[in-house]
C-alpha cells in the first residue's frame, strides 16, 4: 500500500470522474427505460383513473378490496368480498333496508305461510341485457345451487325448501325442488317444514336469480369474468382485471335506478395490508378504510372522523370433548372458565373500540321475540375468581388421577393478531393456574386439518352469522353439525335445536335458544372471548353508506356524495 499510493491517487481521482460520468449516463438510461416501460405498461392496461377517493362530478367512489373475489357465481360464493360485490350487482326477491328490515326487491309483494310462500315479481325487473327477470330464473338458480355437481358450500342455506336436502345429497333429481314458477311473474315456494326465518334467508346471495340460457352459454365459466356474468342489481361490473381492478358502474336496466345516486364504484387497489389501505386513505386516494389498533393513534392525531359498527361475529376458545382428551373433564374446564376475563382481553390486549367482551355465544345484536335477544334472555356469567379456579383445578387432578396436568395444546393461526391472543392466554393460564399451554401455530390448511382430526385441546375459533336469526349460532354445537369440531355431544341441546328449527312460534323458539344459552354456560362448552367490531374512517363527503352484521356490507346502494362536509 505504501509506494503505490501516489499514482493510485491520480488513478482514483480520474476514475471517480469517470464513475460520475457513468452515473449521468445511467440516469439518462433510466429515463429512457422508464419511457419504454410506460409504453409497455399501457399495453397491459392502465391503473386507477382518478387519484381521489370521491369525485363529486362523476359520482365516483374509489375503494380498496381486501382480496380478489375467487369467482362471482352466486350459487357458489362463500367469502365476504364476493358477497359484497354480488350484493351490488345482483338482487334477490327481498333485500334489507337501512334499518335492517326486509323490503321488496325483485318481488313486489309476497305472502308467507307456515309451509310455503308466494312471491309476485315486478314487471320492470330486468337483466343487464334487457330481458326481464322471471320466476324461472329463481327456480333455476336454487336448483343449480342444490345440484350436487355444483358442490356449493352454501347449499345448506336452501335446505328449508322442500326436497332441498334430498337433492343436495343426490337422492332426488333437481326438478323435485319445492319451488315452482307458476308463471313468469309468480313464484310458488314449498317448505320442507315450518320455518319462521325463511324470509330472512331469501335475501342471501345464494338465493339470487340466475338466467338459464346465459348460464349454459358460458360453458362452465359462469362467474369467472365480467363478460361471464349477467346483472340485475343496481350496478354492473364493467371491468375485472384479476388481482388488480374491479369497477362497477350504475346499471341502467335496474328497476329502481333513481334510488342509486353513486355512478361508479371503482376498486383499483387489491391488498389485504391494512397499513397500505390507511396510507391510501391518508393520500385521499380511497374513500374509506378499516383501522387496526395501531392505526388508531395516528387517526386521532389526524383528527379523522372515526366510526364503528359490530360486524356480527363472535369469537371464543373451543374445547376438545373427545374422551381421550383432558379437556373433556368438566372441573378442568370450569377452572379455565374461572380465570377467563374477556374484558381484560378486550380492554388491555386488543384495544380496539367496538370489540365487546364475550359473554355468550349469541351476540348482542340478535333479535329476540320483541326486543334484543340478550335483554330478554340475559346470559348467566361468572366473574373471574382465581381461588375458586384453583379449587376446581385440584378437583380435576383428583378426578383424573394425576399429580400434574400435562401441557395443554392451544391450536391457533399464523396472524399477528392470533399470536397476540394466544400468548395472552398462555401467560394467563401459567400465572393463575400454573399450567403450561403450548401454542400450536399452524398455517390455514394445516390448522383446518388438525381441527377436523381433533388434534388439539383448545382451539381459537369464531363464527360469523349467515342469517339474521339466533339459529345460525345455536346449531353450532349440535352433534350432527360438521362445524362442531370438538365433538360436543348433548342430547338435550340437540333436542332444543330441533325444536327451534321446526317451530314457528317465536316465543317457543326464543325459549329454546335461551335454554341452549344456559346449557352452554352450565356445561362450560366454550370460553368466551369477544364480539368483533370494526372501526373505520370514511370521507366526510360520502353519506348514506350502510354497514351491517348480516347482509351486504358495506352497502353503497343508498349512498350519496355531498359537496361540502
Amino acid at each position: 500500500m505504501g509506494e503505490i499510493e501516489n499514482p493510485a491517487n491520480t488513478v482514483s481521482r480520474t476514475a471517480i470522474k469517470q464513475v460520475l460520468w457513468l452515473s449521468v449516463v445511467a440516469t439518462v438510461g433510466f429515463v429512457l427505460l422508464m419511457g419504454l416501460l410506460s409504453w409497455a405498461s399501457d399495453l397491459t392496461g392502465g391503473g386507477p383513473r382518478t387519484l381521489s377517493g370521491i369525485d363529486a362530478n362523476t359520482g365516483t367512489v374509489t375503494l380498496v378490496l381486501a382480496q380478489e373475489p375467487p369467482q362471482l357465481d352466486s350459487t357458489r360464493a362463500t367469502d365476504q368480498v364476493s358477497g359484497m360485490i354480488l350484493g351490488h350487482v345482483m338482487e334477490g326477491l327481498l333485500r334489507y333496508d337501512e334499518h335492517q328490515r326486509l323490503e321488496a326487491a325483485v318481488a313486489e309483494r309476497w305472502d308467507l305461510r307456515e309451509t310455503g310462500a308466494t312471491f309476485w315479481l315486478r314487471e320492470d325487473a330486468l337483466w343487464s341485457d334487457g330481458q326481464p327477470v322471471t320466476a324461472h330464473d329463481f327456480v333455476f338458480a336454487w336448483q343449480t345451487a342444490l345440484d350436487p355437481a355444483t358442490a356449493s358450500e352454501y347449499a345448506f342455506i336452501l335446505y328449508p325448501l322442500k326436497n332441498a336436502e334430498a337433492i343436495n345429497t343426490g337422492q332426488s333429481p333437481r326438478n323435485q325442488l319445492g319451488a315452482r314458477a307458476i308463471s313468469d311473474r309468480v313464484l310458488e315456494v314449498e317448505l320442507e317444514r315450518p320455518t319462521s326465518h325463511f324470509s330472512k334467508l331469501v335475501a342471501f346471495p345464494t338465493y339470487f336469480p340466475l338466467r338459464e340460457d346465459f348460464y349454459r352459454s358460458r360453458d362452465g365459466r359462469y362467474g369467472s369474468d365480467a363478460v361471464d356474468l349477467l346483472y340485475n342489481g343496481p350496478f354492473q361490473m364493467v371491468r375485472w382485471v384479476h388481482g388488480a381492478h374491479v369497477r362497477l358502474e350504475k346499471n341502467p336496466y335496474y328497476w329502481d335506478a333513481e334510488r342509486i345516486r353513486i355512478n361508479v364504484l371503482d376498486m383499483p387497489y387489491i391488498t389485504s395490508d391494512t397499513t397500505a389501505a390507511v396510507n391510501l386513505f391518508k393520500q385521499g386516494a380511497i374513500a374509506t378504510t378499516g383501522l387496526d389498533a395501531e392505526a388508531l393513534d395516528n387517526a386521532l392525531k389526524l383528527r379523522w372522523n372515526i366510526k364503528r359498527y359490530q360486524d356480527g361475529s363472535v369469537f371464543y376458545l373451543d374445547f376438545n370433548f373427545r374422551p381421550e382428551r383432558i379437556t373433556s373433564n368438566y372441573s378442568l374446564r370450569k377452572a379455565l372458565e374461572l380465570i377467563n376475563d374477556p374484558s381484560e382481553l378486550v380492554y388491555k390486549v386488543i384495544k380496539i373500540p367496538g370489540y365487546q367482551p364475550g359473554v355468550s355465544l349469541f351476540p348482542a345484536w340478535l333479535n329476540g321475540v320483541n326486543g334484543l335477544f340478550r335483554q330478554e334472555y340475559p346470559p348467566p356469567t361468572t366473574r373471574p375468581n382465581v381461588e375458586e379456579a384453583r379449587r376446581y383445578l385440584a378437583l380435576a387432578k383428583q378426578e383424573l388421577g394425576v399429580d400434574a396436568i400435562p401441557p395443554l395444546v392451544l391450536l391457533t393461526g399464523d396472524s399477528p393478531f392470533s399470536n397476540k391472543h394466544a400468548e395472552y392466554y398462555q401467560n394467563l393460564v401459567m400465572q393463575t393456574l400454573g399450567l403450561e399451554v403450548k401454542i400450536d401455530k399452524q398455517i390455514f390448511k394445516q390448522r383446518l386439518a388438525k381441527m377436523t382430526s381433533g388434534d388439539f385441546d383448545l382451539v381459537a375459533a369464531g363464527w360469523g352469522p349467515d342469517f339474521d336469526d339466533p339459529l345460525t349460532f345455536a346449531d353450532l354445537y349440535a352433534s350432527w353439525n360438521q362445524n362442531n369440531r370438538g365433538l360436543y355431544k348433548n342430547p338435550e341441546l340437540d333436542r332444543l335445536v330441533r325444536v327451534a328449527q321446526n317451530s314457528i312460534d317465536p316465543k317457543t323458539r326464543m325459549d329454546a335458544f335461551g335454554e341452549i344459552q344456559n346449557i352452554l354456560y352450565e356445561d362450560v362448552v366454550l370460553l368466551h372471548n369477544y364480539e368483533r367490531g370494526i372501526v373505520y374512517v370514511q370521507d366526510p363527503r360520502l353519506r348514506g353508506v350502510i354497514r351491517r352484521a348480516v347482509g351486504t356490507d358495506p352497502d353503497y346502494t343508498n349512498a350519496f356524495i355531498i359537496d361540502t362536509p
Binding site: R303, K348, K351, P353, L411, N419, N427, T432, K441, Q442
Partner: protein, 469 residues
C-alpha cells in the same frame, strides 16, 4: 597524487578465505496463514469487531444473571411503554362492576330544542381502572353516543374514538375501560335520534386519568409479598422497564437478552455451516469442471427452485416436532439447505476464474494435489466473496428464522428472538417505535461486527498485501 611505487609482498597474493556470511533472519519465517493471523491481530477493524462480539457475548450470557426479569411475564398495565423512568401507581380497591346511573326523564318539555346537549360529569375520580362518566338526560334524545379523544375536539369536531352507544334514554352513564393510560382524555357526548343519526352539538369533558393498581394485583404480579402492607392511597412504584415494554407488557431488555441466544446461535451457526458447505461444493464443482460440474450445479438449481414453505412444513413433521415445541434442528437444517446453493455458485464462479491463473499451473507442475491447490491457493483468493456472503447471511438468517417462527416452524412462543421482535415491532412502528428500534439496533450491531471482521479478514488474507505492514 604521489607516485611512490606500490610495494607488494607475497602475503598479498595469498588466496582469500571463503567467507560464509549467512543472512541473519530479523524475524522467523512465516507461512501464509501465520502472516495472515499476524496482520489480522493488528488490524484495527478486526479489533473493534472483537470488542463488539465480546460485548454481545457478555450481554447474552451474563445479562440474564444481572437483569433477572422473566421475559414472558406480561404486565398488562404497562403495555407498549416507551423507555423511561418507572411509573408510580396509587393503590385503590380492586375493580367492582358498576351499576351505572339511571335517571327518570323529566316531563316532556316542548321548549327543549333538538340541539340540546347533556352536561357531563365524572361520577368518580378517573383512574386507569375505569373512568365513569354520567350526564343529564335529554328528553328529545333517543340515545347517546360516547366519544373519547386524546386531543381536544375543538374546533373541528374531531370527537375521536366512538366508544359506545346507549339507546336507552334513561341510561345516562358509561364506564370506560378501554386501554386507559394516565394522561388527559376528552370525553364527548352526542345525542342520537331515533334512526341513529347524530346531532351536530356535543358536550365535552376534560378528564385527567391517574395511574392506579390494587393490592391484590400487586400480590398476583409479585410486586409485594403481603397485600396487607398496602393501603388505599399508598403510592407504589411499578416495576422498572429500562428499555420499555412490548405489545403485551413484557420487558424489552429481558426479551432482548433471551432473544440474543436464539438469534446469535442461529445467526452464527447457520451461516457458518452453509458457507462451509457452499465452499466445499462450489470449489469441487468449479475446479473439476466438466460433467460433474454440470450435474452438481443442476442439483443446486433444483434445491433453489423448490417451494421453501412447503418443504418447511414437511421438515417439521419429519423431525417429529410436537405442537408448540421449538424446532431448532429442523430450522437449522432448513436454513442450511436454503443457503448453500448461492454460496456454492459464487465460489464456483470465482474458482472458474482463478483456475486459469499462472500460479495454479505452476503449482500443479510442482506436484501439488487437488486438495492442496484448493485449500492453499484457491480458497484464500475467493475470501473476499466468501466473507461478503457471510456478512449478509447473518441478518438474512435471522429474518428467515423470524418468519419461520411466525408461521410456527421455529421457536415457539413465548421464546423471543430478535427477528420475531422486529416482526412484531413493525405493527406498532408509528405509534411505539421503540419496539422495532431496539431489536433492529441489536441486529445492526451484530451485522456491523461481522462486517468489520470480514473486512479485517479480507485485508489479512489478501495475498498481495502479504509481507507488508
Amino acid at each position: 597524487m604521489s607516485t611512490a611505487p606500490l610495494s607488494f609482498d607475497p602475503a598479498d597474493f595469498e588466496p582469500v578465505a571463503v567467507e560464509r556470511k549467512t543472512q541473519t533472519m530479523s524475524r522467523p519465517s512465516l507461512s501464509y496463514w501465520q502472516d495472515a493471523w499476524r496482520r489480522l491481530k493488528a488490524n484495527r477493524r478486526a479489533l473493534i469487531s472483537l470488542y463488539i462480539v465480546v460485548a454481545l457475548a457478555l450481554f447474552t450470557l451474563g445479562g440474564p444473571l444481572v437483569w433477572t426479569v422473566d421475559p414472558a411475564t406480561q404486565d398488562l398495565d404497562q403495555v407498549s411503554q416507551p423507555p423511561g423512568l418507572p411509573p408510580t401507581a396509587v393503590i385503590v380497591t380492586p375493580y367492582q362492576p358498576w351499576a351505572g346511573v339511571t335517571a327518570t326523564l323529566p316531563a316532556q318539555n316542548a321548549g327543549v330544542a333538538k340541539e340540546a346537549t347533556a352536561a357531563i360529569r365524572l361520577a368518580e375520580p378517573a383512574t386507569t381502572q375505569a373512568v365513569r362518566i354520567a350526564w343529564d338526560p335529554v328528553v328529545s334524545a333517543a340515545g347517546y353516543r360516547v366519544y373519547r379523544n386524546v386531543y381536544s375536539p375543538e374546533p373541528d369536531r374531531a370527537l375521536g374514538l366512538p366508544l359506545a352507544e346507549v339507546f336507552n334514554p334513561e341510561q345516562v352513564s358509561f364506564e370506560d375501560r378501554l386501554d386507559l393510560r394516565p394522561g388527559r382524555y376528552w370525553y364527548s357526548i352526542v345525542l342520537l335520534d331515533a334512526s341513529g343519526g347524530e346531532a351536530t352539538q356535543y358536550t365535552t369533558l376534560q378528564v385527567e386519568v391517574a395511574r392506579v393498581t390494587s393490592a391484590e394485583e400487586a400480590v398476583v404480579f409479585g410486586w409485594v409479598d403481603d397485600a396487607a402492607t398496602l393501603q388505599p392511597g399508598d403510592a407504589l412504584e411499578l416495576p422498572y422497564h429500562p428499555l420499555g415494554t412490548d405489545y403485551l407488557g413484557r420487558d424489552m431488555l429481558a426479551r432482548l437478552m433471551y432473544g440474543a441466544r436464539v438469534s446469535l446461535l442461529i445467526g452464527i451457526v447457520a451461516p457458518l455451516l452453509f458457507v462451509v458447505a457452499g465452499i466445499a461444493y462450489g470449489s469441487a464443482a468449479g475446479f473439476i469442471g466438466g460433467r460433474l460440474d454440470q450435474g452438481m450445479m443442476r442439483f443446486a438449481d433444483f434445491v433453489v427452485a423448490l417451494p421453501f414453505l412447503l418443504f418447511m412444513i414437511l421438515f417439521k413433521i419429519a423431525f417429529g416436532i410436537g405442537p408448540g415445541e421449538s424446532g431448532i434442528m429442523p430450522m437449522l437444517v432448513a436454513l442450511v439447505i436454503l443457503g448453500w446453493p448461492a454460496t456454492a455458485r459464487l465460489v464456483r464462479g470465482q474458482i472458474l476464474q482463478i483456475r486459469e491463473e499462472g500460479y495454479i499451473a505452476a503449482s500443479q507442475l510442482l506436484g501439488a494435489k487437488t486438495s492442496y491447490l484448493i485449500m492453499r491457493h484457491m480458497i484464500p483468493n475467493t475470501m473476499g466473496v466468501i466473507l461478503v456472503t457471510l456478512t449478509f447471511a447473518v441478518p438474512s438468517v435471522i429474518f428467515t428464522e423470524a418468519f419461520l417462527s411466525f408461521i410456527g416452524m421455529g421457536v415457539a412462543p413465548p421464546i423471543p428472538s430478535w427477528g420475531s421482535m422486529c416482526n412484531e415491532g413493525i405493527r406498532t412502528m408509528l405509534s411505539h417505535p421503540h419496539e422495532l428500534i431496539f431489536p433492529a439496533l441489536f441486529i445492526s450491531v451484530t451485522v456491523l461486527a461481522f462486517n468489520l471482521l470480514g473486512d479485517g479478514m479480507r485485508d489479512a488474507l489478501d495475498v498481495r498485501m502479504r509481507g507488508r505492514e
